[in-house]
């Protein structure tokens, strides 16, 4: 039987506010345990939550960027359950009336087609603290620094049909929240993570299969692997005569498999009800328009502009707009170069990205700035150096921090464009290799490359390759 996979993602993006969603505590990552938890975060008797307006603005930014409806009135609700890292015994979240509804975004599939993915809703909520079970023999520690950190939970429609689509969607959201500067996207620190709802059904069946929810996936690779494992597990289960049960599962990256955490029957009854400590969140038209006015150019708009104005392919435009910083870097290079976008794009995606990856750096930390790279590319454009020499110069720039011209000058890498000098080198090579010359002239065309190599060697690679080709052809031809 042919199976179709249906996936929906719930992405938790930690909002990059300075203070928590309902208290004035700082949200910085990595502080000593419980040093960023005040009485509100600790759920002390008598204290009350006060909503952080910055978190609301960020949610509105996300809603506007995904073409969603911004609720004029949304409601905070309490999700009740007991756990030591949940100080109040309830989590403040939004349930029936979220702040953002009915958005969508477009993903680019590997085959070059585009697909619209629906965003059911995005709602504001507070994060819980952390239970630490490893460090204390026979005891559990609780760190409430994270308690009350603002989260935007972004829930997709079940529109995704493969693990690859799910990853493409998650990456797109990841790009978007960083463009909007509402989330740092740091997955190691848990700032961006997701739950995946996965089910399978026979192709052609309208009704959805029973789903399993895989919790807390914090890397793109894990999302892909966990979903693929889960698809195989469900198909094998059904084909073996079994039934998928609705349950929550955990992905074990070491074993590459998902395993059951709790079934539907064991699920908590969260007893949601509107939080009486908080008034309904009212957002008026003026606020929405003020936020809209601050939106940056979004990745899709930017990519379209790169295609239209720079002549880049959809793929290249997509790669270069994956982060706002990379796109900005690329645009600065183009500007410094005064055009020649294709050359800039190739270098940013090639040498620059390679060097950044190799050294584990962000584009913002690049050892070669956009202006410096433009300076190097200008020397290719004006034929001062060849592309091959340029790579050598780039490596020197990267390690020494000097400018391209300085390096070209100091190392004498300037391209030889003087025809007589190149001719002299050709003559010498021909004289030293009479046998090869005879063979070439007898019809062994392949030896052309040998002569190119010899001349380049004689000029330390500095001969202008176009001129060399032309002159060599003429000379060898006799």
């Amino acid at each position: 039987m042919e199976w179709e996979t249906v996936i929906g993602l719930e992405i938790h993006a930690q909002l990059a506010t300075r203070s928590k969603i309902f208290s004035a505590s700082a949200t910085a990552y990595g502080a000593a345990p419980n040093t960023q938890a005040n009485l509100v975060d600790l759920g002390y008797p008598g204290v009350l939550p006060v909503l952080n307006g910055e978190a609301v603005t960020m949610a509105v930014r996300f809603g506007l960027a995904t073409g969603a409806k911004i609720a004029r009135r949304s409601v905070f609700a309490r999700k009740n359950y007991f756990y030591p890292d949940l100080p109040k015994g309830y989590q403040i979240s939004q349930y029936e009336r979220p702040v953002v509804e009915d958005g969508s975004l477009e993903i680019l599939l590997e085959d070059g087609t585009r697909k619209i993915i629906g965003i059911t809703r995005a709602h504001l909520e507070e994060d819980a603290g952390k239970s630490l079970h490893e460090d204390f023999h026979g005891l559990s520690g609780i760190d409430l620094n994270r308690a009350g950190t603002p989260l935007l939970e972004i829930v997709s429609e079940p529109d995704l049909r493969s693990a690859k689509e799910a990853v493409a969607y998650m990456k797109k959201i990841h790009t978007l929240v960083r463009y909007l500067e509402i989330c740092d996207g740091n997955m190691q620190e848990g700032s961006f993570r997701c739950d995946a709802n996965v089910s399978v059904r026979p192709v052609g069946q309208a009704e959805l299969g029973t789903r399993a929810e895989i919790k807390n996936l914090n890397s793109f690779r894990f999302v892909e692997r966990a979903i693929n494992y889960e698809i195989e597990r469900q198909v094998a289960l059904i084909e073996g005569g079994g039934k998928v049960v609705q349950e929550t599962r955990l992905y074990d990256p070491d074993r590459g498999e998902t395993r059951s955490m709790r079934s539907k029957e064991e699920a908590n009854d969260y007893r949601y009800f509107p939080d009486p400590d908080l008034l309904p969140l009212a957002i008026d038209e003026a606020t929405i328009e003020a936020v809209r006015a601050t939106l940056p150019e979004l990745p899709d708009e930017k990519a379209a502009r790169f295609g239209r104005d720079h002549g880049l392919s959809a793929y290249d435009a997509g790669v270069l707009t994956a982060s706002r910083e990379l796109a900005g870097y690329y645009e600065s290079v183009v500007q410094g170069l005064g055009g020649n976008a294709k050359l800039a794009a190739n270098w940013v995606m090639g040498e620059l990205s390679g060097a950044l990856n190799r050294d584990g750096l962000d584009v913002a930390q690049s050892r070669v700035g956009a202006a410096a790279l433009a300076g190097l590319l200008a020397r290719i454009a004006d034929d001062t150096i060849s592309g091959k020499i340029a790579k050598e110069v780039f490596e020197s720039m990267w390690s020494e921090g000097r400018g391209a011209d300085e390096i070209i000058e100091a190392k004498g890498l300037k391209q030889i464009t003087d025809t007589s000098e190149i001719e002299r080198a050709i003559d010498e090579v021909m004289t030293r290799n009479p046998q090869q010359l005879a063979d070439y002239r007898a019809g062994k065309d392949k030896l052309f490359g040998f002569f190119v190599g010899q001349v380049m060697k004689a000029t330390q690679g500095k001969a202008n390759p176009v001129q060399l080709n032309e002159l060599l052809k003429r000379k060898l031809g006799g």
Binding site: L39, G43, Y44, P45, G46, L48, V50, Y272
Partner: protein
């Protein structure tokens, strides 16, 4: 000195007829002698009181300070006090010392008051007789065999017995007004949002409101003014200016339109109580008010509505008492579940457990619509009834409680009978309206005079009007001047 009103004490202090220290020592002496029998206080803060009084005297000597500088007060033990134990009358918090002051505490302190102590109450403010306290019941100064009402029973008993001239209270379903009625005091519950709830341990967040128990409406005006106002730490507090309640006491009675609530004169109302309330209404009519009957047909549903909404909120509010970070923790828990079950099982009393269970039930999947949502709808109907009445009258009026103080233990075995005590007071909480109870006479039972309360309810933010009507009534009557025998 102890039977003087706050206004009289303030005048005496400013005229240097006595010092705050003398006054405080005198009241501490009375508390030491008389409070144990009444069980009015959970914690007496004598050292703090003397410090406060000395500081107040320094200011008074320099001619500084406001009208409340040097005036002793007591706080219901539901308000967090920095460095002083706050128990909420629960074993759960018997060891709890808050590291901060509630806004109400902070404001009264800033006004120069002297803190005598923290008063007894029903556990977590859940009760109408002050019999659910972990620290034992409070006795009514008018008859020690009877209850003072609840949940602010300790505050009521302390002021009625002249151990303190005024005390704070909280009112979720009548917890200021009903004890005020049962102990011959003036008790005001302001509009929801008028006083900050920050630092007031939550029972039912959408209903809880702080207020004050005093001997006169004038004192209530003074103390409410010092307590009310916007607080950015409470999202439900309202950002509106606080009127000068004292100045507005003078607003004349003439032209006041009074609506008598038909539904309050039902079969549950004791005839003697009803008679005194009618007499009080006559006093208002004779002095310029126009009186008519109004009907609030949804109001009789307030008790069942309240006993869905309040437990629902409390079941969630009290989840934080889990033995993990503060409060009672059981001995040597075996595991997490055991820690929760025994800490909460041992820490909470029966009435609190009953309400947590009721609230958990009404919020559960499959019951939410039938109970919680339905109750919210009825709540809107009740609010709409009041709004309709206020289109025609300025205040509505009726009894505060159906009976005078009842005997200790008389209603503890039957929660429903106990809940019906709040039948006239709950409506104002459900609608978020300000309401006041003032003394309007005495009925005689077992040869003792027992006080009866008259209740006035007004539109949102009409505290000034409620206080001025009460003040005029108190100029025309002297019920509020009476002090229980043995406490003169």
């Amino acid at each position: 000195m102890h039977s003087l009103t706050v206004a009289e004490l303030a005048a005496g202090l400013r005229a240097h007829r006595f010092s705050s220290l003398e006054l405080t020592l005198h009241l501490l002496g009375r508390i030491e002698r008389l409070a144990p029998e009444l069980n009015a206080f959970i914690t007496v803060t004598a050292d703090r009181a003397l410090d406060d009084a000395r500081r107040a005297d320094e200011r008074l000597a320099k001619g500084e300070g406001g009208p409340l500088t040097g005036v002793p007060i007591a706080h219901k033990d539901i308000f967090c006090t920095d460095g002083i134990r706050t128990t909420c009358a629960s074993r759960m918090l018997s060891n709890f010392v808050a590291p901060y002051d509630a806004t109400v505490v902070e404001r009264w302190r800033a006004a120069g008051t002297v803190l005598l102590g923290k008063t007894n109450m029903d556990e977590f403010a859940m009760g109408s007789s002050n019999e659910t306290s972990h620290y034992g019941p409070v006795r009514n100064p008018w008859d020690p065999a009877r209850v003072p009402g609840g949940s602010s029973g300790g505050s009521a008993a302390a002021v009625a017995a002249c151990l303190a001239p005024a005390a704070s209270g909280t009112d979720t379903g009548g917890s200021i007004r009903q004890p005020a009625a049962l102990t011959n005091l003036t008790g005001i519950k302001p509009t929801y949002g008028r006083v900050s709830r920050y630092g007031m341990i939550a029972f039912a967040s959408s209903l809880d409101q702080a207020g004050v128990l005093t001997r006169t409406a004038e004192d209530a005006a003074l103390l409410l003014g010092a307590m009310a106002g916007f607080d950015p730490r409470d999202s439900t507090s309202v950002d509106a200016p606080v009127p000068d309640y004292l100045a507005e006491l003078a607003t004349p009675l003439a032209g006041l339109r009074v609506g008598v609530i038909r539904e309050f004169f039902d079969k549950g109302l004791e005839p003697g109580v009803g008679k005194l309330v009618q007499d009080a209404i006559e006093v208002l009519r004779a002095n310029g008010a126009t009186v008519r009957e109004v009907s609030l047909p949804a109001l009789p549903l307030s008790v069942p509505t309240y006993y869905v909404v309040a437990p629902a909120e409390c079941s969630s509010n009290l989840s934080r008492f889990d033995g993990v970070r503060f409060g009672h923790r059981c001995e040597s828990p075996r595991d997490l579940r055991d820690l929760y079950e025994r800490s909460r099982g041992e820490g909470f009393g029966d009435e609190v457990k009953r309400r947590i269970m009721t609230g958990t039930y009404v919020l559960s999947a499959g019951y939410y619509d039938a109970y919680y949502l339905k109750a919210q709808k009825v709540r809107q109907l009740i609010a709409a009834d009041f709004a309709r009445a206020f289109a025609e009258v300025d205040v509505v009026i009726g009894p505060t409680a159906p009976t005078p103080a009842f005997g200790l233990g008389a209603k503890t075995s039957d929660p429903i009978t106990m809940y019906l005590n709040d039948i006239y007071t709950i409506g104002a909480n459900l609608a978020g309206l300000p309401a006041i109870s003032i003394p309007c006479g005495f009925v005689s039972e077992d040869g003792r005079g027992l006080p009866v309360g008259l209740q006035l309810v007004g539109p949102h933010f009409s505290e000034s009007r409620l206080l001025s009507v009460s003040h005029h009534y108190q100029q025309l009557t002297d019920w509020h001047r009476r002090v229980p025998p043995g406490f003169e």
